[in-house]
């Protein structure tokens, strides 16, 4: 006999909580570089992260940071690029080389049994790269081709123009890549960048997943003797730009969709308003149930998706709204986006909407801290801004306590349409 239970009303909902998030264990290497530890037995995999002060902001010419990073596994005196690739593959390990504006990260996923071998291999590769001409030439060609493909996409065109407008064409944050840059970059540029920002630029090490003392010993041996990153960065100052109220339209006659970007400078993660602003951004366009999604996708069918997001870089923060819409909806979509911004800073959010956003954001935080790798990612993001896990603890507190009045006030300060700029790539019909 099946038990019969009442299902005529929805289950009672409990407020999602992550509990208080604790900072990771820190092991200081001999040279003072911190090793952050995120142990977990829920995975078979261990991940090693090496963070270098080698982002695009440090470039003296465009593509320098990216090419140095991508060509790290391009060959050493004792190993060819092919041998390096084969060795990583043979041990079932997955290296990942990435560059952002303010940092470069070298990451390696592997099974613990092969940790010592693969970590040694990685250290060899990133310490003694030769940047062979042959490998460089290949990457120049293939990267140029990918770039030319991207350049045909309206989303790429609009993002590039917007960053240029916001940060200025002379600054690494706003500089646009041009096809000729791919020819101008030379081996010497990579060698000097590597020496400055990799050999002398290791900021931190992190281990996440299936880790034990054995892995820590290997890290100490491999990375404990390196020079630590120089204190303080010499990032080029952001120029004042006159982007407010500017509108740029880039026509692309064969476009089926227009890419819309509306953006303005706001604040970084370390600003006292940032956590409240997270809530404001979420209400506007930061999640699936946001006002922009409800209006432009669910109600009008203008787009497959629309979002707003906050970006926090070392030199500044920005607030960005992005979508792609059918060209016939370009104008109407812009109108609706501005209407939603205006509503946000002129009307109080209802308690029922606030409750929904609150619970959803708290649920997202539970997801964000699920598993050692996402825990590590979140911590590293905070660390980048000079913060730690308390940032997320305070964020939870702010999500629980923020009032409609506070939200309106923040929206007035940060979502004033006159302080934003607009870029459209595609067609206006």
């Amino acid at each position: 006999m099946k038990r019969s239970e009442k299902t005529d009303r929805p289950p009672t909902v409990k407020l999602p909580v992550t509990g208080v998030l604790k900072n990771p264990g820190i092991h200081l290497l001999k040279n003072g570089i911190p090793l952050y530890l995120f142990p977990s037995v829920s995975t078979e995999i261990v991940r090693l992260d090496l963070t270098f002060n080698a982002g695009t902001v440090n470039e003296s010419l465009p593509l320098q940071a990216r090419f140095t990073n991508v060509l790290l596994p391009g060959g050493t005196a004792s190993m060819s690029a092919e041998e390096i690739d084969e060795a990583f593959d043979f041990h079932g390990s997955f290296p990942n080389f990435s560059v952002e504006r303010d940092k470069a990260v070298v990451q390696l996923f592997m099974l613990p049994a092969d940790f010592s071998k693969t970590a040694r291999l990685l250290n060899h590769v990133i310490s003694e790269p030769l940047f062979p001409e042959q490998e460089m030439k290949m990457h120049q060609e293939t990267r140029l081709q990918s770039f030319m493909i991207n350049r045909q996409k309206v989303s790429f065109i609009s993002l590039e123009s917007m960053l240029e407008l916001l940060f200025g064409s002379g600054h690494p944050y706003g500089r646009r890549i041009q096809p000729e840059y791919f020819d101008q970059i030379t081996r010497d540029h990579l060698i000097s960048f590597h020496n400055r920002f990799y050999t002398n630029g290791l900021k931190s090490v992190a281990l996440a997943g299936r880790i034990s003392d054995a892995e820590i010993t290997v890290i100490e041996e491999l990375f404990g003797e390196r020079p630590a990153s120089h204190a303080g960065n010499s990032f080029p100052l952001l120029p004042e730009t006159d982007y407010r109220g500017r509108k740029i339209f880039i026509g692309k006659n064969d476009a089926l969709q227009s890419s819309l970007r509306i953006a303005g400078k706001t604040v970084k993660m370390d600003h006292p308003d940032f956590q409240g602003l997270k809530v404001v951004n979420t209400i506007l366009g930061g999640w699936f149930g946001s006002r922009l999604m409800k209006n432009l996708r669910e109600d009008k069918g203008f787009t497959y998706g629309i979002g707003s997001s906050l970006h926090s870089y070392a030199l500044g923060g920005l607030s960005l709204i992005s979508t792609e819409t059918g060209v016939q909806h370009t104008r109407a979509a812009l109108r609706e986006i501005y209407r939603e911004m205006n509503t946000l800073n002129s009307k109080l959010v209802s308690m029922s909407e606030l409750r929904l956003v609150r619970n959803s954001m708290l649920g997202d935080l539970v997801r964000q801290f699920d598993g050692p790798f996402s825990l590590c990612d979140s911590f590293m993001t905070a660390l980048e801004a000079g913060l730690d896990m308390d940032f997320y603890n305070n964020l939870q507190e702010k999500i629980r306590s923020i009032t409609p009045g506070e939200i309106k006030q923040l929206a007035e300060t940060y979502y004033n349409k006159d302080n934003f700029c607009e870029v459209v790539a595609g067609r206006m019909e």
Partner: protein, 416 residues
């Protein structure tokens, strides 16, 4: 690490899988419906995927699916492919009943109001434009599938043959689609998280137990795809930045014994940057700027696909010839022991990487149960490991023939 699973079948035919994982406060609820674009009528392609969108449009009892889930801190999404439509929710385990309530409610039938249908048709049309039409090479699958498949409904991609099919979808046919495919007997429910199997079973019975098994009308059978006797070729000129080549062959079913051989074979060709195609054709000969090979992993006879973007100033014919030499080599020369060990090691670590977290485990378990037995997921690494060099050569030689190949060429518009 063994992925443990408890299996049950409710009285109405709904299958339930429970995976207990005490390491996380997050739970996953996955519902797989055994229907994909292969089950569509050829005049109404794209409807399985359109239906997936409609399932988020609320029901008579729950007006706003998303809102109700979001209040409980849950997040939901879904995907449709040629074989299945899969819905999933992640939610703090303390609110898992909300997920079960919402999934059981929409299993009884979504609201197919004019408003919901009109808006979702427009959203899907935008998705079609954004993903398939508005970017270079976006329409490859629209052109390749009909070249590879002449009979089997894998000949159209999940998004559909044309936007017009989506635009003309009507209430009546969508309702019929629902009655045929959306009922307990055609679904697998998987719950993963910090929950005991007995409790999961009680909750599944509480929320899903009263749903009637459904009329369960006979599903139309699907035709097999005959082996090609003649190669297929199609050359298209498009506004793309580089010439590109796509070669495809029909392979075995997902549950067939040879499947892992095909998987290993494509890994030999393109697993990582030390794969043969990259090493030889990109790095060494520089005829391609990018090249890859993979199997679609579809349940019926799927595809093995090789695609490459050709380097500037290299003739398409030269590139194709170089690629054919590599295929020929695979058919004749067995991989070296180290080469084979390499792809096996990579498979093992990527298996563990891709099955991290409750959601990925729940989705994978559902799929394996659909193929016959969820517990078989724990045999994946050993099945792959048992592939031998001879099996690879033999299978490659049998299947990757010139006669049975489909080749699609994208030529860029010449600027001269």
């Amino acid at each position: 690490m063994i992925i443990n699973t408890s299996k049950y079948t409710l009285d109405n035919g709904l299958k339930l899988l429970v995976h207990t994982d005490t390491s996380t406060p997050l739970a996953a609820v996955n519902i797989l419906y055994n229907v994909g674009s292969k089950n569509e009528h050829p005049d109404m392609t794209g409807s399985a995927h359109l239906f997936e969108h409609l399932m988020f449009g609320g029901t008579g009892a729950v007006r706003d699916f998303d809102r109700s889930l979001q209040l409980a801190g849950g997040e939901s999404n879904a995907f449709t492919n040629t074989d299945i439509t899969n819905y999933y929710i992640t939610i703090p385990v303390s609110n898992i009943e909300t997920a079960l309530w919402l999934e059981s409610d929409r299993m009884k039938g979504p609201d197919l109001s004019d408003k919901s249908l009109t808006v979702q048709k427009k959203v899907v049309a935008e998705e079609f434009r954004q993903r398939y039409l508005n970017q270079p090479y976006g329409d490859v699958m629209l052109n390749l599938r009909p070249l590879v498949y002449k009979v089997h409904p894998y000949r159209w991609p999940t998004i559909g043959i044309d936007i017009s099919h989506i635009e003309k979808a009507d209430h009546e046919r969508l309702r019929e689609f629902f009655t045929t495919y959306y009922h307990p007997e055609n679904a697998i429910l998987t719950i993963a998280g910090n929950i005991k199997p007995e409790k999961a079973l009680r909750l599944a019975n509480k929320w899903f137990g009263s749903i009637s098994p459904g009329a369960s009308p006979a599903k139309p059978g699907l035709p097999g795809e005959p082996v090609k006797k003649e190669p297929e070729r199609l050359s298209l000129t498009r506004d793309v930045p580089a010439d590109a080549i796509y070669k495809a062959w029909v392979i075995c079913k997902r549950s067939d014994y040879e499947f892992h051989t095909f998987d290993a074979l494509t890994d030999i060709l393109a697993g990582g940057e030390s794969g043969r195609l990259y090493a030889s054709l990109v790095r060494d000969k520089r005829v391609f700027s990018e090249i890859n090979a993979f199997i679609t992993g579809e349940l019926d006879n799927g595809m093995l696909l090789i695609y490459g973007r050709i380097s500037d100033k290299v003739a398409i014919e030269t590139a194709e010839e170089a690629l054919e030499e590599e295929i020929e080599r695979l058919r004749k020369e067995p991989p070296s022991p180290r080469e084979l060990q390499k792809v096996k090691n990579r498979f093992e670590s990527s298996f563990h990487l891709s099955h991290a977290g409750v959601l990925h485990k729940a989705t994978a378990l559902s799929l394996f149960e659909l193929m016959g037995d969820a517990m078989k997921i724990n045999e994946e690494v050993s099945s792959y490991s048992s592939v031998t060099a001879e099996m690879i050569t033999e299978t490659a030689d049998k299947i990757l023939t010139e006669e049975s190949a489909s080749t699609l060429l994208y030529r860029k518009i010449s600027n001269d």
